[in-house]
Each structure stands twice: as C-alpha cells, then as structure tokens.
C-alpha cells in the first residue's frame, strides 16, 4: 500500500528526515516510536502533504502513485487520512457539515452519489457509537470548545466516517486519560481490517496495551534505527530510547 524509499525531508532548510525506508501493506498496523524531536510526527505530516516540509530526496509511493505530486486534498480523496496531534478548531462550520462534505468528496472520487443530510445522519449515527460520542457534538463547530480528549475522539470519529485506506495517527494517545485512551483504541481496532492500514505515531508504549501492532519502528534522529514486532515496544518501555541509540549508533537499517 505504502512504500517509502530513502526519504529525506527538510523544514526551513533543516533536515528532519535522513533516509527513511518503510513498507506498509494492507491489513497491517505499524507503530512509529521515538523520542521527542526524532521526526516521527514529521513523517506522518509529510505523507499527508503538509506544505511546510520539503521532500529533498527519495519517494513516497502510495497505491502505485507518487504522493509527492499530489495536493493534500487529493491524497485525502484517495484514502489517506491523518488524525492530528493537535486538531484544529474551525469556526463557523459544524462538525456534521464538515464530515458530510468530506465524505461526499471521497464518495465522488469513488464514483458514488453524495449522501443528502438525512442519509448522512443515518450513516454517522452508527459511527458515533464507535467512539462513544454524543450526537450533540455533530452540531458544534469543528473542535470548538472541545476538551483535549473530545478532540482526539472527534479525529477517530472522522476516521470512522471517511473510512480511509491508510490512516496516519499522529500521537492520538498523547494527553488522553485511561478511559479516553481505551475508547479511542477500541475505535481504532474496530476500524482496522484487511483492506486498510494504520501508521500509529506514538511517544508512549501505553497505547500498545490496547492496540497490537504488527511492526514497531524506532525513529531516532531522522532515521529508523530499529524495527521489530510488538515485543520491541515492551523492551523500549523497560530500557528507554537510549538503549536503541546506544546500540545502533553506527547504522540503522530498517527492514
């Protein structure tokens, strides 16, 4: 589904990613872990198309197409979704209106008829249960006045509605209390299937108690220093990120 080859990227001239290689197949969950400032959030943003970052070398191939050539909205319509670390407030637009417009854009891309507001209401009601959100959130302006936990749940609600092929979850777990973490994680689990894939960017091992990744990658200083199965996350929790940096200072090659 997604193949990243030797990806280098800069922001304002400073190199943040220094040769990332990563392969994500349909049905897989990949956890990207790493210390603060390692470039893991950058990786998610670059895949989503954030304009502040410049890809200087390498490529990102999604479903056989080069993502670097596409605007962020085009990527989204082709099934790439990003749950934001800091979801943005949008005044003047209700949550349900945004999600309906988004969903209909994606339907159009797939050659399907758009849903009218009533049809959409039926559709979204079942999705609400998934993240245990009250219908009143639909009428509020996007993320306006939401608590931190509500914002994160709202991101997962959008993921449920848009039904993406590839979900980039950027520190969706950070700052959540245990209850909210459980709700969000269960939602993500229910949404993952054979046809789609998840790239979970996280600083903490905690969320992996709820979501079982197929692969764990440790990103340090713009490179994937170590890859492994879920046991890698447990080891990291025990030994800290220093353990990875100390061991693989010479050359980290991800497989």
């Amino acid at each position: 589904m997604l193949t990243i080859k030797n990806l280098h990227a800069t922001v304002e001239g400073e190199e943040i990613l220094k040769g990332i290689n990563l392969e994500i197949k349909a049905g897989e969950i990949h956890a990207i872990m790493g210390p603060n400032g390692s470039g893991k959030s950058t990786l998610a943003k670059i895949i989503a198309g954030h304009p502040s970052y410049e890809v200087t070398r390498g490529e990102i191939i999604y479903e056989g197409e080069d993502l670097a050539e596409m605007d962020p909205d085009e990527r989204a319509r082709k099934g790439v979704f990003m749950a934001f670390q800091y979801p943005v407030e949008i005044p003047g637009v209700s949550n349900s209106m945004l999600m309906r417009e988004s969903y209909n854009e994606i339907r159009k891309e797939q050659g399907l008829d758009p849903l009218d507001p009533l049809e959409f209401e039926d559709y979204i009601t079942e999705k609400l249960n998934l993240v245990e959100m009250d219908a009143k959130f639909l009428e509020r302006n996007v993320n306006a006045g939401f608590s931190g936990g509500e914002k994160k749940r709202n991101e997962i609600l959008q993921m449920a509605v848009l039904n993406p092929r590839l979900s980039l979850l950027d520190e969706t777990d950070s700052g959540l209390d245990i209850d909210a973490l459980r709700i969000v994680s269960e939602g993500i689990n229910k949404l993952s299937g054979k046809e789609n894939a998840v790239m979970l960017v996280t600083h903490y091992q905690r969320i992996l108690n709820y979501i079982t990744p197929d692969y764990v990658h440790v990103l340090v200083n713009g490179q994937i220093q170590k890859s492994g199965g879920k046991e890698l996350a447990i080891k990291l929790e025990e030994h800290g990120y220093e353990w990875v940096t100390a061991k693989t200072e010479v050359n980290g090659e991800a497989k």
Binding site: P72, F81, I90, V93
Partner: protein
C-alpha cells in the same frame, strides 16, 4: 442649457441638473437653501484631505449623471418580489432608482399609529414629526455629501414608531437600481423616529441590477427617544461600477439601544460615514460592519462613536475581506467627552487578505477626555490560517471549498448578530459567490 465653456464643478452640476426644487414647508425650503449654499462653488474633497486620504473621488468628479427620476421607463427586472425578505412580507417600501414605487410597497399589519411612508409625501403633508427631525442629525464637518442630498432629495422613507409600540417583524426599505444606458444619480433619504420605549428593526437594502455606472448618495437619520430599541441592517449591493457614498447618523437618548450592521458588497467605490451620538446616560450603540471587496473595488468606512454622558457602552466590530486588488479602509473615531465617565467602548477592526495584491488601511482614533473609562481597540490584518487550511484539505476538501468555509468562518460573528434569518442566509450565499469569484492566483497552501 449648460454653457460648456463655463467650468462647473461636480457638486454644482449635480444641483443644477435638478433645476429649482419645488417649495414646500418653510423648514424644508430653508434646509435645502442652506444646504445648496453650503456647497455651491465647492470642489469635492481630494486625497490631500485627511478624511479622504485613501479614497480618491477624482474619477467620480469627471463623471456626468442625470437625476434618476428623469429615466421615464426604467428597465425593470420581473423578479422584484424575490428581493423582499419573507420577514418583511407585510411591510416594505420599494424605491426604483430612488423613486418611490407604490406598486411594490406594502404597509399592512402595522400596529396602530405607526407610519411607514414615502418621506416626500409626509413632508408635503406637513407631518410635524418629520418636519421637526429632518436634517437635525446628519451633520459632518466639511462634508459636501449630506448637503448634496439635502438640497435635492425627494423620495425616501419615513418611519415613525409611537411610544411603547413594538414592531415584531423587520421593515424593509428596498432600493432597486436598474441597468440603464444613461448614468444617473439619486439621493434617497431616510428618517426613522422611535418614540419612548419603542422597538423596531429596519433593513435598508440597496441592490444594483446591472453592471452600469450610477451614483447613489443616500442619507439616513435616526432619532431614538428614551428607552427605545432599534436594529438597523444595511446591505449595500450596488452595481460593481456604481459609486455609493452614504451618511448615517443616529441620535440616541437615555436608556436606548441602537444596533447598526452595515454590509458593503457592491460598488467600485463605496464610502460610508456612520455616526452614533450617545446623548444621555445608559445608552448603548453598536456599529458593526462587514466589507467584502475584490477586483478593483474600494470600500471606505469612517465611523464616529460619540460618548457624551456617563455609563454608556459601545461596540464596533468591523470586518473586511479583501481579494484581488481590492482596498478596504477603516477609520474609527471614538470620542469620550469629559462628562462621559464609566464609558465602556470596544472597537475591533479585522482584515482578512485572500490575495497578495489587496490593501487594507486601518486607523483607530480614540479621543478621551474623561478619566474613568474603559476603551479597547485593535486592528489586525492577516491571511487564512495555514493550519486550518491544511486541516480541511486533509479532509478531502478542495482549495475552493476550504477558502469558502474559512472565509465564512471569518465573517460569521458579524453575520450571526444580524437578527433576520433570511439576511443571514443571503450573506452566506454572498460569501460563497465572493469566494467562488476569486481570481486570486495565491495558493492557500
């Protein structure tokens, strides 16, 4: 016949074109004479004049106009009824090129004693309230446009609300300006008098039907007696080649509340001078505005909020959206006179620039002579927030949808404060039209 060898200035030409005005009651005749004397031989202000620094009238001064009433058979569109807001179904006055149209006006279902009528008729009949208040409030220093209107105005609206009467639904004043070959000019005049404890909403709507050049120079005067309330919505959607130079003055008495929402969408040049005088204690005034300019439009708002007595509050939120080569100007004066202790005045001017080539001028101007007051003011100029743009794009929304949603979000707090649902809907469509028309090559992100 005009002697073309004689050089005449713009204002003289305007007044002369009308010929002698019919005489009526002394008060009106005197008012007209004085106004004409005021501006005879005077030139239009130039950009050297501080109040006109960013608003050049050079182009206007070279134009020629005939009085709009001389157009015998205006090119009337057949959908005039569509321009009546459903809320104003039972009471609206329509003016076609400044001339009162009985056919398209209706004043049903008004409470006992309320007058909603053509000002010219009311003055001819000698209505004492109209005669008492006309020309009392619209006064600006060094200003030729109120005198121009006063010297030649005929038709317009007169609204009189007796004491303790509340009119539930808004009254609409619809000014329709038709598409004609001749360049015409008109001087609509409105006078609204709310007696003690009255309550009213007035919608003043100027609509241009073509893409033609004309000159619209309306003056509105509002007098609110004690404990009365008025909401005044003005929509300026004149032809994109029109000139619109308007004056609005409100005189607000003790315990009264005046709220004005002015929306400027049309005209190549629109200049709006608004003034609220808080004449006694515990009065409240709102002068909010929403301006959208694109192409080479210029919209200039000059406001005066005049606090003269203690314990009054005022609110000004003025928002401008600028695309293409558009220009917005805002000059907001707040006076807090020596007696006006405990004044609470708020002013904010926010400008959203959608293109690289638009211009916004903002000038808050506070003159405070009392020592126990709270006055806040701020002016900002900015672009759409890149984080919001990126967020919406990652949700699959196209550039144009993103621009529209965020522009609407910017304008929303002004739109939402307008208490007429169909105007809110109208404005959301106007925002959509505005953002769709964008020629701006600037990519959002």
């Amino acid at each position: 016949m005009t002697d073309i060898t004689k050089e005449t200035n713009f204002l003289d030409r305007m007044i002369d074109s009308h010929g002698p005005m019919q005489t009526g009651y002394d008060r009106v005749t005197e008012l007209r004479r004085k106004a004409a004397d005021d501006i005879t031989g005077r030139d239009l202000p130039t950009t050297r004049h501080e109040e006109w620094k960013y608003c050049s009238l050079k182009k206007l001064s070279r134009e020629s106009f005939i009085p709009a009433a001389e157009i015998a058979q205006p090119d009337l569109p057949d959908n005039i009824a569509d321009y009546i807001y459903p809320e104003a179904e039972h009471h609206h006055l329509t003016f076609i090129n400044g001339v009162y149209s009985e056919k398209w006006s209706k004043t049903d279902k008004l409470p006992q004693g309320v007058i909603v009528a053509n000002l010219a008729d009311v003055l001819d009949e000698g209505n004492p309230v109209a005669l008492e208040h006309i020309g009392q409030y619209a006064r600006w220093e060094d200003d030729p446009f109120v005198p121009l209107n006063t010297s030649v105005f005929r038709d317009g609206a007169f609204i009189h609300v007796p004491a303790s009467v509340k009119i539930e639904d808004p009254i609409q004043l619809l000014f329709i300006n038709t598409d004609e070959k001749e360049q015409y000019f008109m001087t609509p005049r409105c006078l609204v008098v709310g007696e003690r404890s009255s309550e009213i909403t007035v919608v003043e709507d100027h609509v241009g039907f073509g893409d033609n050049v004309y000159f619209n120079a309306p003056v509105s005067e509002i007098k609110l007696a004690e404990n009365s309330h008025m909401t005044h919505v003005k929509l300026q959607r004149d032809s994109r080649k029109a000139y619109h130079i308007s004056r609005l003055a409100a005189d607000i008495s003790r315990d009264s509340n005046y709220k004005s929402y002015a929306v400027q969408l049309g005209s190549q040049l629109s200049r709006s001078d608004v003034k609220a005088v808080l004449t006694d204690e515990n009065t409240h005034a709102t002068l909010d505005g929403l301006v959208m300019v694109n192409g080479d439009q210029l919209s200039d708002t000059h406001s005066i909020m005049d606090h003269t007595m203690p314990n009054c509050t005022s609110h000004q939120l003025h928002k401008c959206i600028i695309d293409d080569e558009g220009t917005s100007v805002f000059n907001g004066k707040i006076f807090v006179r020596q007696d006006a202790q405990k004044t609470d005045a708020f002013q904010e001017n926010r400008n959203l620039q959608l293109s690289d080539s638009g211009t916004a001028y903002a000038k808050p101007q506070l003159e405070i002579f009392a020592d126990d007051v709270s006055c806040s003011h701020g002016a900002t100029i900015g672009q759409l927030d890149p984080d919001q743009v990126f967020y919406l794009k990652t949700r699959g929304l196209h550039e144009s949808q993103t621009r529209e949603i965020l522009t609407y979000g910017f304008a929303l707090d002004v739109i939402e404060s307008i208490p007429v649902a169909s105007i809110q809907e109208r404005l959301s469509k106007e925002v959509e039209k505005f953002t769709k028309a964008s020629n701006s090559i600037k990519q959002l992100v």
